[in-house]
């Protein structure tokens, strides 16, 4: 048995979050998500949490495990015999128990125009419409692996201090599209990325990349975008557009 402390928040019951402990049986393959489902089914049906694929690809089950942002389906109780505290993802408003309000995250994702813009069709045959060499793909592929789990936002102290900061995932996504050879939308994205809320709020703490379950390295993307934003300022300066 493992002792799991869970940070609860039931707004209709009390205005403040509270902690509750559960004794959970486990074996070598029991994940935190398994444990949460066990608690909900056998101990306390009021416990609320998000999950879906249970195999670390949907990005739904983000949670803080002993203060570290993780996917609950990918954390195993066998590694936490000393005890475990589960809290909702940091830096986001708590809706209920381990469920957070992802609106800020979703708003920032949308704001960077994360889609191909004016990508010229190379053929009327839809199967051949967009072509790309392996080298062109390699330029942005790592940044396209994001599963929108939000762990990087919980890791990022700059987002924690200022939720207006676009944040690691959104800026990485913008950079992913800027680097895509099919895309013509960089000019449409840069005005937002050139603001204080773009990469300029980042101080390269780098913890976002540490917690990313997909090894996207958002810190690299955000800081590469600083270079692009600086180049953009220089270019506009020379053109007299500043």
């Amino acid at each position: 048995m493992i002792n799991m402390k869970i940070a609860r928040y039931q707004p209709e019951e009390s205005a403040e979050p509270f902690e509750q402990s559960f004794q959970v049986p486990y074996d070598a393959s029991t994940s935190v998500l398994d444990a949460l489902n066990y608690i909900k089914e056998d101990l306390d049906p009021t416990l609320s949490f998000r999950w879906s694929c249970r195999m670390a690809i949907c990005g739904s089950c983000g949670v803080m495990v002993n203060g570290v942002p993780k996917l609950s389906c990918k954390v195993f109780l066998r590694d936490y015999e000393q005890g475990m505290l589960l809290e909702p993802l940091a830096h986001l408003p708590i809706e209920r128990d381990l469920i957070v309000d992802m609106d800020a995250f979703l708003k920032h994702l949308e704001a960077v125009k994360p889609y191909l813009i004016d990508a010229p069709l190379e053929s009327e045959n839809t199967a051949m419409a967009h072509q790309q060499t392996p080298a062109q793909l390699a330029k942005y592929q790592q940044f396209s692996n994001c599963i929108n789990c939000g762990l990087c936002y919980s890791a990022c102290p700059q987002f924690g201090l200022n939720p207006e900061f676009l944040g690691p995932a959104a800026i990485t996504l913008a950079h992913r599209y800027n680097l895509d050879s099919r895309d013509q939308g960089k000019a449409a994205r840069m005005p937002l990325l050139n603001t204080e809320e773009g990469p300029w709020s980042c101080t390269f703490v780098g913890y976002c990349s540490d917690v990313c379950p997909q090894q996207v390295d958002p810190a690299a993307a955000v800081n590469q975008l600083k270079v692009e934003s600086a180049k953009d300022m220089l270019i506009q300066l020379f053109r007299g557009n500043l």
Partner: protein, 121 residues
């Protein structure tokens, strides 16, 4: 689109560029500078007489030295202190910026002025 009118370009690239250049100098030039000028020389392991130092410093090399070892690292330091204070939730962002970069600019100009005066002599 009205969205564009609301988006204000940040002036941060300028300070970040100085910070980056200063960071390179901090990493590459400062260790040697400390070892020789701040440790070995005061401890008497190496000697730098006044005539050697002034001949060497009040030349073109002194300008490079001032730029790479004093001015750029100064802007690097001030930029990091400014962001560090922000991280510690100090809210006077404008004041910190003005004091920080202001001090770095003034001290840089002062050092460059002394170099120039010595160089012209």
């Amino acid at each position: 689109m009205t969205q564009k009118a609301k988006l204000k370009r940040s002036g941060e690239p300028i300070w970040w560029a100085l910070f980056s250049a200063g960071g390179v100098c901090f990493a590459v030039f400062i260790p040697a500078t400390i070892v020789f000028l701040a440790l070995l020389m005061p401890l008497g392991v190496v000697e730098l007489s006044y005539s050697q130092a002034s001949t060497w410093f009040f030349s073109f090399w002194g300008l490079l030295f001032t730029g790479a070892v004093v001015v750029l690292p100064l802007f690097h330091a001030v930029h990091r202190i400014r962001h560090g204070l922000h991280d510690l939730k100090v809210q006077h962002h404008g004041l910190v910026k003005a004091l920080g970069y202001g001090f770095a600019s003034v001290l840089s100009i002062v050092c460059l002025t002394f170099w120039l005066l010595g160089f012209l002599n």
